[in-house]
C-alpha cells in the first residue's frame, strides 16, 4: 500500500488568490471578514462575510469557461491550475486512466442556481417557472457532479471522478476519499480538494433562520471569535483549495517528497441531531482516535491541532471536549487554532483550506493563530494560539471538521520522509 502525499497546492481564499497570499494572511493574523458586497443585505440578520475578490479573467479563465461555470467551479478551476503548476508534474506524460478527481462541496453551484431561479420565476412570482428563460448549463448548477467534471476536464483525468458532498466536512472527506483511491492502488494521482461559494441570499437567509451566523454587523473584522466567551456564531466564507495528491511511490520516482503525507483519516456520525452537538464530543473524539490509529500516531506525536473552531457556542465547547477525550493530557500541551477566525467558514471548502493551512504550517514551521480571541471562554481551556502566529517545530498535525448531519471527520498529516520538495 502506497501512502498519499500532497505534491501541489492551489488556493482561492478570502484575502487573496493563490497559496502565497493565503499563507501571508494566516501567518499575519489579519482577518478577511467584512460587510457582504455580493448582494444587497438589507433585511438580513447577518450581513457579513469573508468574500474572495475574484475576477475570473484575471485568474486565467476564458469567457466561455466563465459563462459555463458557477463561481464555485471557477474557484476549483483556478486552484487546479495552481496546484498542477506547483506540483511540477507533466500531465501529458501520465496515463489519464491513472489520474482521478475527488472534489468536495457542501452547497455546490447555488449562486447560479439561485440567480437563474430569480429570472425563471420572475423574481419569485411564479412557481411554474418559465422554461423559455432556461440557460444551457442550468442542470450543471443543480447537480454538483459538474464540479468534478470541470476539474477532470482541466487535467484530462480518465480515472475515477468523485464529488463528495457531506456538508461542512466535505473538504476533509473529499481528500480522505482520494487517499483511499491512492492507497488501494486505483489511481497514482488524484486532484483532490473542495470548493464552495455560498455567499448568496438563500444561504445567508437559511443560516439567519437558525441564528448560526454572527450578527456582529458593526464590527465585521472581529466578528468571528472562536473559543472566546463572546462568540456568537460563524461568518460565512467562500473559497477553494485543491491538491495534487500523489502516491508516495510515484512522487519518489520523480524525486519529489511533497508537502505532507496523509497518514490517517476517519469519519463518524453522532446520530444525534442534524445541527445539534452533544457536549461530550464523543463521536469526533472517536474519529480522531481512529485517524491517529491509521496514521500510527499517538497523542504525544501531535504537534498542532487545526480546529474546526467555527465560533458557535456549541461547536467550540464540543470540540474542546473531543480533543481532551482523544488526546488526554496532550490536549493541554499542544497548540490548537482556528483559521476560520480569519477566512470565515466556507462550508464544504473549509476542510480543504485547512489542510492547505496545515501543509503550509509544516513547510514554514509556524502555527497560524486564532484571531479575535481576547476573552477566553472558561469552558474552552486549551492553548488556542490567540491572535499571533507561533514558530514551532512541527512534524505531525491533526485537523478536524464537524458539520450538519452530525458528521465528524479527522485527518492526521505529517512531514513526509525523503528529499525536500521545493
Amino acid at each position: 500500500m502506497s501512502k498519499a502525499v500532497v505534491t501541489g497546492i492551489g488556493v482561492v481564499a478570502p484575502g487573496g488568490i493563490g497559496t502565497r497570499a493565503f499563507w501571508d494572511l494566516l501567518s499575519s493574523g489579519r482577518t478577511a471578514t467584512r460587510a457582504i458586497t455580493h448582494f444587497d443585505t438589507t433585511g438580513f440578520r447577518s450581513r457579513i462575510g469573508a468574500e474572495v475578490d475574484f475576477d475570473p479573467a484575471d485568474s486565467g479563465l476564458t469567457h466561455q469557461e466563465t459563462r459555463r461555470m458557477d463561481r464555485a467551479a471557477q474557484f476549483a478551476a483556478v486552484c487546479t491550475d495552481e496546484a498542477i503548476a506547483d506540483s511540477g508534474l507533466d500531465f501529458a506524460g501520465i496515463d489519464p486512466g491513472r489520474i482521478g478527481v475527488s472534489i468536495g462541496s457542501a452547497v455546490g453551484c447555488t449562486v447560479s442556481l439561485e440567480r437563474e431561479y430569480v429570472v425563471l420565476s420572475d423574481t419569485g412570482k411564479n412557481w411554474l417557472v418559465d422554461e423559455t428563460y432556461q440557460v444551457p448549463h442550468l442542470y450543471s448548477y443543480m447537480a454538483p457532479s459538474s464540479l468534478g467534471c470541470e476539474v477532470a476536464w482541466r487535467v484530462g483525468a480518465e480515472g475515477p471522478v468523485a464529488v463528495v458532498s457531506t456538508g461542512c466536512t466535505s473538504g476533509l472527506d473529499a481528500v480522505g476519499h482520494a487517499v483511499g483511491l491512492i492507497e488501494e492502488g486505483t489511481a497514482d494521482i488524484v486532484l483532490a480538494g473542495a470548493t464552495d461559494a455560498p455567499i448568496s441570499p438563500i444561504t445567508v437567509a437559511c443560516f439567519d433562520a437558525i441564528k448560526a451566523t454572527s450578527p456582529n454587523n458593526e464590527d465585521p473584522e472581529h466578528a468571528l471569535r472562536p473559543f472566546d466567551r463572546r462568540r456568537n456564531g460563524f461568518v460565512l466564507g467562500e473559497g477553494a483549495a485543491i491538491f495534487v495528491l500523489e502516491s508516495a511511490e510515484h512522487a519518489r520516482r520523480r524525486g519529489v517528497r511533497g508537502y505532507v503525507e496523509i497518514g490517517g483519516f476517519a469519519t463518524r456520525s453522532n446520530a444525534f441531531h442534524m445541527t445539534g452537538l452533544k457536549p461530550d464530543g464523543r463521536e469526533l473524539s472517536e474519529a480522531i482516535a481512529v485517524a491517529m490509529d491509521r496514521a500510527h500516531a499517538n497523542p504525544e506525536d501531535i504537534d498542532y491541532v487545526n480546529a474546526h473552531g467555527s465560533g458557535t457556542k456549541q461547536n467550540d465547547r464540543h470540540e474542546t471536549a473531543a480533543f481532551k477525550r482523544a488526546l488526554g493530557e496532550r490536549a493541554h500541551q499542544v497548540p490548537v487554532s482556528s483559521i476560520k477566525s480569519m477566512i470565515g467558514h466556507s462550508l464544504g471548502a473549509i476542510g480543504s483550506l485547512e489542510i492547505a493551512a496545515c501543509a503550509l504550517a509544516l513547510q514554514n514551521q509556524v502555527v497560524p493563530p486564532t484571531a479575535n480571541l481576547e476573552e477566553p471562554d472558561p469552558e474552552c481551556d486549551l492553548d488556542y494560539v490567540p491572535k499571533v502566529a507561533r514558530e514551532r517545530e512541527l512534524e505531525t498535525i491533526l485537523t478536524v471538521g464537524s458539520g450538519f448531519g452530525g458528521f465528524q471527520s479527522a485527518m492526521v498529516l505529517s512531514k513526509p520522509a525523503g528529499e525536500i520538495h521545493v
Binding site: 433585511g43 431561479y117 419569485g124 417557472v129 480518465e158 464529488v163 456538508g167 456520525s269 450538519f404
Partner: protein, 406 residues
C-alpha cells in the same frame, strides 16, 4: 472463520412502478411501467411532460411528523427505502456495536423541491420568510444525516454525487469501508426526486430529456426511435455486510456478493480520445477476477440518446462480442432516477440472480443498427449467477459493478 466478502442482505426499492421490493419486482417482470403524466404540477407548458413517479407513496407511513417538516420528498423516499432494506435484512442497528455500522448514500440534486419553495419565499416575501429547515433539508447530505439519526448508526458516513453513476459508486465505497476493521455493516443506496418545476427545467437544459407526451413512446433506448430519456424519482437502498458477520447473526438471505467495480471518466468534450466506458467494464471484470464469459446479464445505462446508446452498445459488444450477452434496461419502466437509478438496477440484478430470470426492456421495437446487442424485450428465464450493472453520470462519469450469487 474470517470472510470479508461484501454481501448484500437487504433490499428496499422505492420505484415508480412499485413501492417495496416485491411490488417493484412483480411489476418489472410483468413489464408494467410507472411512467405517466407529471402529477405534482401542471406540466402543460414544459417540454417534458411525463416522468416516473412513485405511486401511492404516503411519506408519513415511514417518516415521523417531526422529521417530515424538515425534509424533502427525496429524503422521505430514502428513509422509506432504508427502513425496508433494514427490515428485509432483519437487522436492528440499535443492537449493534457503537461504530460498526456506516451510512453512505448517493444524491444528485438534493432537496430540489424543498429548495425551490424556500427560494420562492425569499424572493417573493423577503429573507425573514426562509424557514429554519432549509439549512438541513436541501443540501446533498441531508439523507445520510437523517438516516444515521433515525437508526442510530454512528459509524463512518459518506455522500457521493456522481449523477447516475453515484448509485454504483456508493456500493464500491461501502465495500471499501467493509474492508476496514471498524466497519461490519453499511446502509447504502441512492434516491432522487427533482420533479418540481425548477428541477424539471434544470434537467431539460441538457437537451437529453424526451419531449414525447405518450408515456409508451417516450423512452426507447437502443432503438432508431431513441429521442431522449424520461426522468423519474425514487431509488433503492441496501444493507451490505461482511459475509462472516452476516453468517454469525444468521442473516435470513444473502442476495449476492459485490465482486467487482471500476469507475472511469470520459475525455474532455471534443477530445479525439475514445470514451472510457469500455475500460470501466473491463476494469470491473478484472477486479472481480472474471472474464466476460462469466457474465450472465448486463443491466445497461440506456441513455436513450442515439449516440450515447451506440457508445454503450459498442462497449458491451467490444467486451462480450456482438449479441453475446443478454442486455436489459428495466429503467424503461421507471425512467432514469439519477442517484437512485443505478441503485434500482442493482436491486433488479440481485433479484434476477435470486429468481433466475431477466426482466425486460419495455416499449422498444427493433434494435438500432449500430447497437449490436441482445436486448431482452420479454421476461426471459435464464440461469443468472453473475450480473454486470453499467451506469453513466452526466458529464462523463462511467461506473461498472459486478455482483455474483453467493
Amino acid at each position: 472463520m474470517s470472510d470479508d466478502r461484501a454481501i448484500i442482505t437487504g433490499i428496499g426499492a422505492t420505484a415508480p412502478n412499485g413501492l417495496g421490493t416485491e411490488a417493484y419486482w412483480a411489476a418489472t417482470l410483468d413489464g408494467k411501467s410507472g411512467i405517466r403524466e407529471i402529477e405534482s404540477f401542471d406540466p402543460a407548458n414544459y417540454t417534458t411532460q411525463v416522468a416516473g413517479q412513485v405511486p401511492e407513496f404516503v411519506a408519513t407511513q415511514y417518516v415521523p411528523a417531526k422529521v417530515m417538516v424538515q425534509t424533502d420528498r427525496w429524503t422521505h423516499l430514502a428513509l422509506a427505502g432504508a427502513a425496508m432494506a433494514l427490515a428485509d435484512a432483519g437487522l436492528d442497528p440499535a443492537g449493534m456495536r457503537e461504530y460498526e455500522m456506516a451510512v453512505v448514500t448517493a444524491s444528485s440534486s438534493g432537496g430540489s423541491e424543498f429548495g425551490q419553495r424556500e427560494i420562492q419565499k425569499l424572493w417573493s416575501n423577503g429573507p425573514q420568510h426562509v424557514g429554519a429547515y432549509q439549512s438541513i433539508a436541501w443540501f446533498y447530505a441531508a439523507s445520510t444525516g437523517q438516516l444515521s439519526i433515525m437508526h442510530g448508526m454512528r459509524g463512518a458516513c459518506g455522500v457521493l454525487a456522481s449523477e447516475q453513476a453515484g448509485g454504483l459508486d456508493v456500493v464500491a465505497q461501502s465495500r471499501r469501508l467493509l474492508r476496514r476493521p471498524d466497519t461490519t455493516t453499511v446502509l447504502t443506496g441512492g434516491a432522487d426526486h427533482a420533479l418540481c418545476p425548477y428541477g424539471m427545467v434544470a434537467q431539460s437544459s441538457t437537451g437529453r430529456l424526451s419531449k414525447a407526451v405518450d408515456p409508451e413512446r417516450a423512452y426507447q433506448p437502443f432503438t432508431a426511435d431513441a429521442a431522449g430519456y424520461v426522468p423519474g424519482e425514487g431509488g433503492a437502498h441496501f444493507v451490505m455486510e461482511r459475509a462472516d458477520e452476516a453468517k454469525a447473526r444468521g442473516a435470513s438471505q444473502r442476495y449476492g456478493e459485490v465482486l467487482g467495480y471500476a469507475a472511469t471518466f470520459d475525455p474532455p468534450p471534443g477530445s479525439p480520445r475514445p470514451p472510457s466506458l469500455r475500460r470501466a467494464i473491463e476494469g470491473a471484470l478484472a477486479d472481480a477476477g472474471l472474464t466476460s464469459a462469466d457474465v450472465d446479464v448486463v443491466f445497461a445505462d440506456a441513455a436513450g440518446d442515439p449516440e450515447l446508446d451506440r457508445i454503450e452498445a459498442g462497449a458491451i459488444a467490444a467486451v462480450f462480442g456482438p449479441y453475446a450477452v443478454p442486455v436489459t434496461a428495466p429503467k424503461t419502466m421507471t425512467g432514469r432516477l439519477y442517484a437512485g437509478g443505478a441503485s434500482l438496477d442493482l436491486a433488479a440484478a440481485l433479484l434476477s440472480i435470486r429468481d433466475n430470470v431477466i426482466p425486460p426492456t419495455v416499449n422498444v421495437g427493433e434494435v438500432a443498427t449500430g447497437c449490436p446487442i441482445d436486448l431482452v424485450t420479454e421476461t426471459r428465464p435464464a440461469r443468472v449467477r453473475t450480473a454486470l450493472i453499467v451506469a453513466r453520470g452526466y458529464g462523463g462519469f462511467n461506473a461498472a459493478l459486478v455482483v455474483r450469487a453467493i
